[in-house]
Amino acid sequence: MKKSVTILVLVLGLAIIASLHLGLNVYAPAAVLSALGGADGTDAIIITSLRIPRTLVAICAGAALGLSGFLVQASTRNPLAEPGLLGINAGAAFSVVLGITLSGSLGLAAIGGLALAGGLVTTALVFGIVTAAGRTAGPGTTLLAGVTLAAMLASLTQVLLLVDETALETMLFWLSGGFADRSFEVLALGLPSLVIGLVGALAIAGSLDVLRLDDDSAGALGVRVTGIRMGALALGALLAAGAVAMAGPVVFLGLVAPHLARRLAPRATSAGQIVVTVLTGASIAVLADIVARLIVLPGEAPIGAVLALVGVPILVSLLRRKAEAVL
């Protein structure tokens, strides 16, 4: 556990350093250092106003999505669960597409705000449906209600896009998510939910440990099972909504980061897994972002596609190893 945290911190640190140096223009360490020291010039502007924000957004969105995935998987005890299943991405995408269709064009900060609002409203709807469905409803129902609402919103989004072809091109890129050209304002949109989510998750980590048992045993140990599960889901939703506000609907990371973290630290407590998952999510996001700017020069590849290209081989190779043999 300690060893994997150390390694992950090292990987993340190296990834951050690489992220500042690499891109369409590759800089020497001296140029990066002088830019960080407050130097002027085109290179310094590129580093401070483009590379630093996108690196920070990648770290925050990656950490938020990884943690969100962990919480959703833990509270539903479903290894296939991921934040997208709660309808957050679909709700965010729908409100953004609706906004663009109604107003013509929007800046990234406005899009981020719309996405945050759309994601949160959708989650509220999902929880409303589950509450209205009453006592027969468990976490399974939450996932199903989320998936159903997500599918409905996705289909409305698609209809809007088919009707309004000019929005299609702008949206096609936003819909695949990304960290490029994000400003500090966008970061400010997502950061509060990351902080709340992280603090909240660590606060309920002890109960999440007990939740790994079945419901009856957990209840017998004094854990308010339903309350903790719904709390964890709400935190997961908040984290994912913050991430979608920053980076658009980034898929796959929320699913993969917790699985990777579980492989990296198989015997960690929930608190330990939270730390490992956050570090894993952030590292993957920064690494994927670097790859995204390098593989289709002079353009950029969508981050969702790169995440899959980077994440899938790692996941498959880890799946094929025995849990004990990892690190």
Binding site: A137, Q158, L172
Partner: protein, 339 residues
């Protein structure tokens, strides 16, 4: 609902499906009233009506129903095998594999003027090829897995390869010509479009084969509801049964997707609607699931060709619009009957 006898319930569902079929056959750019549809269906209509019904509308209606049935059955089997309520055909990597096949096909065989250099009729073959390659990859990874072949691991390999396939599709769409991207998007959403009786026959043949297999193994489907240990103690070879059903789900999905594209949501939601309307431990659960899946895709496709006529929307964009409200209503209604 559960007080009605099983055969009556299934017959009622079948009657609903037939009614939807007749209505769907009637509506369209030249709408036919019900009596003329029925007359044409039983061969006593006017020549023009019979042409519209038998060569234009009915093949499309039949293909929608059969594809919906195949996807719904695949979903029900997957949910049973993995004992996971959110399992659906799209998580096996088949749908996305088929998408890779189609997008690659559109890309490779386009000339500079965006025209296809080969016939569009090869597209289903490209889809089937893509589906085959990706399901073969999942199978190889699962078979070579050093830790045994549990369904969860197969699904994780499936999800991984599906993500890889999605990435490939996105990259090809961004690097390829924009016009093709739009066309590929329509296919990726799933659309029935012009259907021929030969397409219908292909899917029907596959469904008949699947039905035979399911009829032979029907008891096992129900036993898989139990947890693995209990199921094993009732005499099921759990591992092998799971693999057989998984393979069947793959085949059914590939069959449907190669004909109608990546129509989503049906495989996920049809079994749950059947669970509410019929009961998942009741005899005839799979039949109910299939009929509901058929009705969902037919409803979506009918909406797709009439809603914004003369523009046709892809049916896959509307399956959720048809199915989601129904499912949410059932979810909320369940409380009033049980709580």
């Amino acid at each position: 609902m559960n007080r009605i006898a099983v055969p009556t319930r299934l017959a009622a569902m079948a009657a609903c499906l037939v009614a939807v079929t007749v209505v769907a056959t009637g509506v369209g750019s030249s709408a036919l009233p019900l009596d003329r549809v029925v007359a044409a269906l039983i061969g006593r209509g006017e020549t023009m009506d019979e042409v519209i019904v038998w060569t234009l509308r009915l093949p499309r209606v039949a293909l929608a129903i059969l594809a919906g049935m195949a996807l719904a059955l695949a979903g029900a089997l997957l949910q049973r095998v993995t004992r996971n309520p959110v399992a659906a055909p799209s998580i096996l990597g088949i749908t996305d594999g088929a998408a890779v096949g189609v997008v690659a096909f559109l890309w490779i065989f386009s000339d500079d003027a965006n025209a296809l250099t080969v016939s569009i009729h090869w597209q289903p073959l490209a889809a089937a090829l893509g589906a085959l390659v990706f399901s073969a990859l999942v199978a190889v990874l699962a078979l070579l897995d050093p830790q045994g072949r549990s369904p969860l691991r197969i699904i994780l390999y499936g999800i991984s390869l599906a993500a890889l396939a999605k990435a490939a599709v996105t990259l090809m769409m961004i690097l390829g010509p924009v016009y093709r991207a739009g066309q590929a998007l329509t296919w990726l959403t799933g659309s029935i479009g012009a259907a021929h009786w030969s397409d219908v026959a292909t899917v029907a043949a596959g469904l008949v084969l699947a039905t035979v297999v399911l009829a032979l193994l029907g008891r096992l489907v129900r036993q898989l509801v139990l947890d693995p240990d209990t199921a094993a103690s009732t005499g099921v070879a759990v591992g092998r049964t799971q693999l057989v059903f998984l393979a069947l789900a793959v085949a059914l999905t590939a069959l449907a997707v190669s004909q109608v594209g990546a129509v989503g949501f049906v495989g996920l939601i049809a079994p749950h609607i059947a669970r509410f309307l019929h009961g998942q431990f009741t005899e005839g659960f799979l039949a109910a699931t299939a009929m509901i899946g058929g009705a969902l895709v037919l409803g979506a496709d009918t909406l797709a060709r009439t809603m914004a006529a003369p523009v046709e929307l892809p049916a896959g964009a509307l399956t959720a619009l048809v199915g989601a409200p129904l499912f949410l209503w059932l979810l909320l209604k369940e409380r009033r009957t049980h709580g």
